[in-house]
Symmetry: C2
Subunit: 205 residues, 2 copies
């Protein structure tokens, strides 16, 4: 980064950001395909058209690079799907669509759950902070009478996430459904997910 | 196996089965911890108190060994949790309990979903055959008027599996729930899972 800064005040940060962005995009692809232990930093460097040394200059280790990719991915998902605690079925539909369009993003997150469980450091961890914010949002709509207060808000969030990713999570069932569902289309799978969330957590009126 | 058979008619198959069993148990542990690419057959052999060559005599490859472990694990889960299509909330509760007691078994299955997607070979595949049988069971109770026929039976199975494993699947949420749930006990998480399935698919009366 300091190298880029030496080469000019306005252009340099952009160049630095571009290299960093290329590394993150390459790492996203490599981690989604091979997981964390299976990922190779030299392949990431090659794909990002940079050197292994530069990758380590930006990210001190492979785990740190994964953490950066995953943290950004959680942000991108949150931004793209916009939780609306008064319309959880709509939110579930957006999550479903997100992962249908980007199965590699679901893989990326799943690898981290297997390979780096319990690495969150509590309230300072950005993923934990984002989850806590969502739980607080749900608690607020419960207090406003827009969501059944009998549910624990932590369960509401967990169930909505889980139901939305029903088909992304169970490839062996997707295969069976393709052959044995009454209607094997993606639209039918999506409708079932949205209906399930609607039955559990109806839209606020 | 032929070596064991040489040593006596009655004792030999038991001895052979014991070695095979030890390999499967060791492989279960190794795959759950490291995944398929990360698993090492020499570690499995050591843990099973046998040789790498014997492991390959029973199972032709690491992938074949994983497939044998996973197929058996699916059988053990099915046997332990006993799907009852007229009491899906009860079934979800048993699945929940199974994976709370055996988080490594959930990891084993998740690795396979990431590392060997789409390896099922259709109707001949034992996992696919088991899923098809469950879908057929659900269709039958729908036809008998014991389960809402508006649901696609493939969605019912997928949703029940998915809801039952809500907390096993999202370790980052478990951590947040421990700090921010109204009631952070496992019993409360279980009750929410069972209630969710009950709301969607009430017990037949």
């Amino acid at each position: 980064m300091s190298q880029s800064r030496d080469s000019g005040q306005t252009a340099a940060p952009a160049a630095a950001d571009t290299t960093r962005e290329r590394i993150l995009a390459a790492a996203m692809e490599e981690f989604a395909r091979h997981g964390i232990a299976g990922a190779r930093v030299d392949r990431i460097a090659k794909l990002a058209k940079t050197s292994k040394e530069r990758v380590y200059a930006y990210f001190r280790s492979k785990d740190a690079l994964y953490a950066a990719v995953a943290a950004r991915e959680y942000d991108v998902i949150a931004e793209a799907t916009q939780i609306d605690p008064t319309d959880l079925p709509g939110y579930a539909g957006r999550l479903f669509d997100y992962f249908v369009a980007r199965p590699d993003h679901h893989r990326l997150i799943t690898w981290g759950r297997l390979e780096l469980p319990g690495t969150a450091t509590g309230a300072d961890d950005p993923t934990q902070a984002a989850i806590t914010r969502k739980i607080d949002l749900l608690r607020q709509v419960q207090q406003a009478g827009q969501l059944d207060p009998a549910w624990d808000p932590a369960d509401v969030l967990a169930l909505v996430n889980q139901i939305a990713t029903t088909w992304a999570s169970q490839p062996e069932l997707s295969e069976a459904a393709a052959a044995h569902a009454v209607d094997p289309t993606t639209a039918a799978r999506r409708a079932a997910v949205v209906t399930a969330v609607e039955r559990l957590f109806p839209r606020a009126r």
